[in-house]
Amino acid sequence: MVGEETSDEERAELRETLGLMDPIHVQFSRFIINASKGEFGISYQLRRPVSELIVERLPATIELVVISALIALVTGTLLGVYTGINRKGFLSDFVLAISLLGVSLPTFVIGILFIYLFAVILGILPSFGRGEVVDLGFWTTGFLTASGLKAIILPSVTLSLFQMTYIIRLVRAEMMEILQTDYIKFARARGISENSIKYKHALKNGLIPVITIAGINIGTLIAFSIITETVFQWPGMGFLFIQAVQFVDIPIMSAYLVFIAFVFVMINFIVDILYYLIDPRIRVKGDTASG
């Protein structure tokens, strides 16, 4: 906020107005009070209210995370079910080998490889940015333009890879375990068709733990998006955060962290409610076995 030629008096005055001279507990309680009102102060670097900055960047991150989560959940579950049912076979082995790569390769390496392959060599997808965006007033979206859609492919796939491989392995393990249970055996003994056994009886049970993990992982996706956004110069919150770190822009950092914490709590809350809806054993607690 200060330049080379700012005088010492001006610096002191600025410290005073920013409240930096107050004792820590005063500063902290002021932060809590303001935060509860949605005010996180003014960015030291950009000199604009932090809440305004976050609202501006939020759509980019949310769109990226939602698309990645969808990719991770849908392909992860599909491939997980496939590999869980067809335990042997070339395709299963291939998927598992690839999933090992997904778990072990860091996001930024995958991102750079993708950029090199699709943007530099093949030249079919943009290497950075969000493309053209449409401003809906409260939300800026890249979904409505061709360049916006093209731009989201690489970053969202990069971001989803880790979660996807995680979900593949989880669903696979769950499916394999459930297909060994007594009630699946009993269903077989009753002549229930294999398709119903796999997709109705087994999959439904197998998805219960996936929901928990997926919930927690959406939070992780937002956190991970810092790296992906930096690699792809994606104008989202993560990118904003990285810049803030470089400039020790504390108001932005604290606002971002509070926001992430809030998202985690909300997601876990939603997961608990989903659990209640999906698993009847939780729903009727207290109404214990009778008869």
């Binding site: 009630y183 009753r190 002549g191 229930i192 109705k200 439904k204 009847p280 009727v284 076995a289 008869g291």
Partner: protein, 560 residues
């Protein structure tokens, strides 16, 4: 008329090195309206045969030869055709009703799906059929229960649902794989009655797979005995149980604890060690044997234990009284039996006596000292040394990461830290020999032993501190009858020679009759009656005891 004909059926498991036969050249015939009992100990291949009939063998096992003829159909012609008969012509019931039903589908959904798979019925018709079926198997308010999830049913009710599922498409053959093993006696007799009734009414052919000779005696018309994949003997139930031809069948029948009389020892027909009856108990030298004084070693006074559902709300109205105002005494040197069904609080009492649970109220006196009020750890240790416990499941009660000698050494060094290594090792060897295990066992790990041998290790561990009271919580429920007979013999010998006092907890009345001098009967946490064993069996006082005795499956019923 022969309805089911199994010819030369073999099932094998292709392992990397060898082929294991789970069943070999089995020939069985079953008629309509008949219950065939299939008995054998664990690993005998009885369940394998049941599953092989509908070709439901887990990988890598497969039916390698033989044919299964149902009526005039060869149902093993090809692997696709068998699927058509599952549920349709052949119904199957599994052992554990807790795990046989899909937890996230309602009972109705599971019934309708099964019915619609085989019969061309609309959803409405299938629903009506299901509700009638639920009524037929004895479920009240079937219309309401139809929409319930499996966990809302009790164990017995759940097994009824399983039966209705197995029967919903009018099969002609029913295979029941240990249908009552996981259930209490009272529920067991209801389920067996139901199966008998359905067999008659529907003219079913039934294969009843079980390890329980009492169940066989009371339900089966004919019985087939299996041992390590081979059919040993098949014939009329009465003939097989009263006049078995094969040695194996003889030993199996003689291992079953009789319900109508008390015998001093179980006759072990098989096994080479029948000659060494004179089991020298080497630990006797170390045992500071106390003469039996005519006194009460354990006194339980108004003992209660409640488990609060909720830790935070202190309201006691939701709390479950697991044990409710129970009082009894155990004399020094006697065997006291506690019997009751699951949930009767018998294990809770055992855990309070060994001080694993704190009683909610009441006192436990051991040797005239109230052990529930002891605060000091060193004081408590003195009593822990004198009271030892043997648990039900020999698989989970031994630490798999420790060698047998370390398992047994642990309590010894805990109570006697100054013991020398040489002395310790000798003591461990003595203990092992006392429970009829070899010295070599000391350097092995628990997983290398069978269930019966593990229970012997548990006993050796319990004896290591030279206890005066041995609390045995269902010590043989997880074991086969012949192994059970050996373990019970061992416990009897040890008690006799070491003057042990035993608290023997079991749901199995015949076993308790053989083991105990006096018996207490528990129901829902309350003590119904305490009396001498023979009095209890011959002229029970309490209504509930009479009920239990009436319902217990009796192998002797075959003589009537």
């Amino acid at each position: 008329m022969t309805f089911l004909k199994i010819n030369n059926l073999s099932v094998d498991y292709q392992m990397r090195k060898e082929t294991v036969y789970a069943a070999k050249n089995v020939n069985i015939e079953v008629n309509k309206g008949e219950i065939l009992g299939l008995v054998g100990e664990s690993g005998s291949g009885k369940s394998t045969v049941g599953n092989a009939i509908i070709n439901l063998i887990d990988e890598p096992g497969k039916v390698s030869s033989g044919s299964v003829i149902l009526g005039d159909l060869n149902i093993h012609e090809n692997s696709e055709s068998i699927v058509k008969y599952r549920g349709n012509k052949i119904g199957l019931i599994f052992q554990d009703p807790q795990t046989s039903l899909n937890p996230i589908l309602t009972v109705g959904e599971q019934l309708i799906e099964t019915i619609q798979t085989h019969l061309k019925l609309s959803k409405e018709e299938a629903k009506n059929k299901s509700i009638n079926l639920l009524k037929e198997v004895g479920i009240k308010d079937a219309e309401v229960r139809f929409d319930n999830y499996p966990h809302q049913f009790s164990g017995g009710m759940r097994q009824r649902v399983v039966i209705s599922l197995a029967l919903c498409c009018e099969p002609e053959l029913l295979i029941a794989d240990e249908p009552t093993t996981a259930l209490d006696v009272s529920i067991q007799s209801q389920i067996l009655d139901l199966i008998k009734k359905l067999t008659k009414e529907r003219n079913l052919a039934v294969i009843l797979i079980t390890h329980d000779m009492g169940v066989i005696a009371e339900t089966a018309d004919r019985v087939a005995v299996m041992k390590s994949g081979n059919l040993v003997e098949i014939g009329e139930t009465k003939k097989i149980l009263t006049n078995p031809q094969e040695n194996y069948t003889k030993s199996l029948v003689s291992s079953v604890p009789p319900t109508n009389k008390k015998i001093s020892r179980f006759v072990i027909v098989e096994k080479e060690n029948s000659d060494k009856k004179e089991n020298n108990i080497k630990i006797l030298n170390r045992w500071t044997k106390k003469g039996i004084i005519d006194q009460d070693l354990v006194q339980i006074k108004n003992l209660s234990k409640s488990f609060d559902d909720n830790f935070f709300t202190e309201s006691s109205k939701n709390s479950v009284m697991a044990v409710n105002d129970v009082s009894f005494k155990i004399k020094e040197g006697e065997s006291f039996g506690l019997v009751g069904e699951s949930g009767s609080g018998k294990s809770t009492i055992a855990k309070m006596i060994v001080n694993l649970f704190k009683p909610t109220s009441g006192d436990i006196l051991f040797d005239n000292v109230c052990i529930t009020k002891i605060k000091k750890r060193s004081e408590l240790m003195k009593f822990r040394k004198q009271i030892q416990m043997i648990f039900q499941d020999p698989y989970s009660s031994l630490n798999g990461r420790l060698k047998v000698k370390d398992i047994i050494a642990e309590p010894i060094t805990l109570h006697n830290p100054s013991i020398s290594t040489l002395d310790l090792n000798n003591y461990i060897y003595d203990l092992l020999e006392s429970v009829e295990l070899t010295q070599k066992s000391a350097d092995r790990y628990p997983h290398e032993f069978s269930g019966g041998q593990r229970q012997r290790i548990s006993i050796a561990r319990a004896l290591a501190t030279q206890p005066r009271l041995l609390v045995c919580d269902e010590p043989t429920s997880a074991l086969d009858v012949s192994i059970q007979a050996q373990i019970l013999n061992l416990l009897k010998d040890l008690q006799e020679q070491l003057n042990l006092t035993i608290l023997f907890i079991s749901h199995d009345l015949p076993v308790v009759r053989q083991m105990c001098d006096r018996i207490g009967v528990l129901k829902d946490g309350k003590l119904c009656e305490v009396s001498n064993t023979e009095d209890l069996f011959l002229k029970p006082d309490h209504e509930y005891t009479r009920e239990l005795l009436r319902l217990m499956p009796k192998i002797e019923s075959i003589y009537n």
